[in-house]
Symmetry: C2
Subunit: 167 residues, 2 copies
DNA sequence: CTTGATGGACAACCAGGTTGTCTACCTAAG
DNA sequence: CTTAGGTAGACAACCTGGTTGTCCATCAAG
């Protein structure tokens, strides 16, 4: 039974998983056992401006409650610090700690290494072509970093029905 | 901040998600609202021989308990039927119902259509090259259909530590 | 000062997984 | 025939990451 459509889908999943799993494993090996890709992802979002639970939730297409939970574990593990916003009594400002920055840095190095390894395996041209093709296919959805549960655990993914959060 | 490694990873994820989400949506539109890709996946496994909870668990790299839960919902929704095995008093045989077969069929059509749409967008050669490159990169992990939670919900992914199930 | 929107917290609940434990049943070895 | 070991399945407790729903404090605008 040949099923080109499913095969392609699974192939993309396998590719993602291979990279993600290896990345997570390497990250663990280098001292960040308590991190999951969601965490790295959330950290990037926070660092690039999503400095409150609500905002983080928006960026990740997740309810603010879910974002708050993520933040709570991030804070527990010292990747992020929470400080009251002097200018707005409702808000609690988020700040990526040095430990968090180190993890982000490490994560970037690791993934870049993994990509280089792939380049060595199939050649720079093939890989570049793959990226180009994929990029033009996914278009807008490309780097929409709103990967809800998509990066949880060692990696998971959920595409919830665009939470409204009537709260 | 250019991060080639992360970008590639996210690109693969985006590709997978695009296909998976569109597929799930289309499946819902055509009458299978209560299905998630895991279900389609499990159905295939069952249909191709994993006709017991334990075996299904093995195929999906998930505990037999988790498999049993999936089976329970599949049975509830009439995609699968459970019948005692006349030859082995311990086993409960699984059988994909007509409704289940119809869903599998529909799913295949949908995903094939999606692939064709992609082919039309970037050309058959590019897409074939992409598949070829990816296939050679993921190698063994390729069609390892053991995508645990990886397909749950509208799609999620988990890579659990190869459950042993001491039960 | 009231009204409405926003930020955050809390509780209840769900899906999908994992352990751990227990029973029933098959099988092979004495 | 009996017993010991392994396998199938069920049940319960628990975890994670998400979702509602609700409520309060605070800001911003009229």
């Amino acid at each position: 039974m040949s099923r080109p459509g499913s095969d392609l889908t699974l192939l993309l999943l396998a590719g993602f998983r291979t990279l993600a799993d290896q990345g997570a494993a390497e990250l663990a090996r280098r001292g960040h056992e308590d991190v999951r890709p969601v965490h790295d992802f959330a950290l990037h979002a926070i660092h690039s401006g999503a400095d409150s639970a609500s905002e983080l939730g928006r960026r990740m297409s997740v309810t603010k409650q879910a974002a708050a939970k993520t933040i709570a574990t991030l804070e527990e593990r010292n990747y992020v610090a929470r400080e009251p916003d002097p200018a707005d009594g409702r808000r609690v400002r988020l700040r990526v700690t040095d430990h968090g920055l180190a993890m982000m840095q490490l994560g970037q190095e690791i993934f870049d290494e993994l990509r280089e390894r792939w380049e060595a395996q199939v050649g720079a041209e093939s890989l570049a072509a793959l990226e180009e093709t994929l990029r033009s296919l996914v278009g807008d959805n490309a780097i929409r970093l709103d990967s809800p549960g998509w990066l949880a655990r060692d990696m998971d993914a959920v595409s919830p029905p665009a939470p409204a959060d009537r709260g």
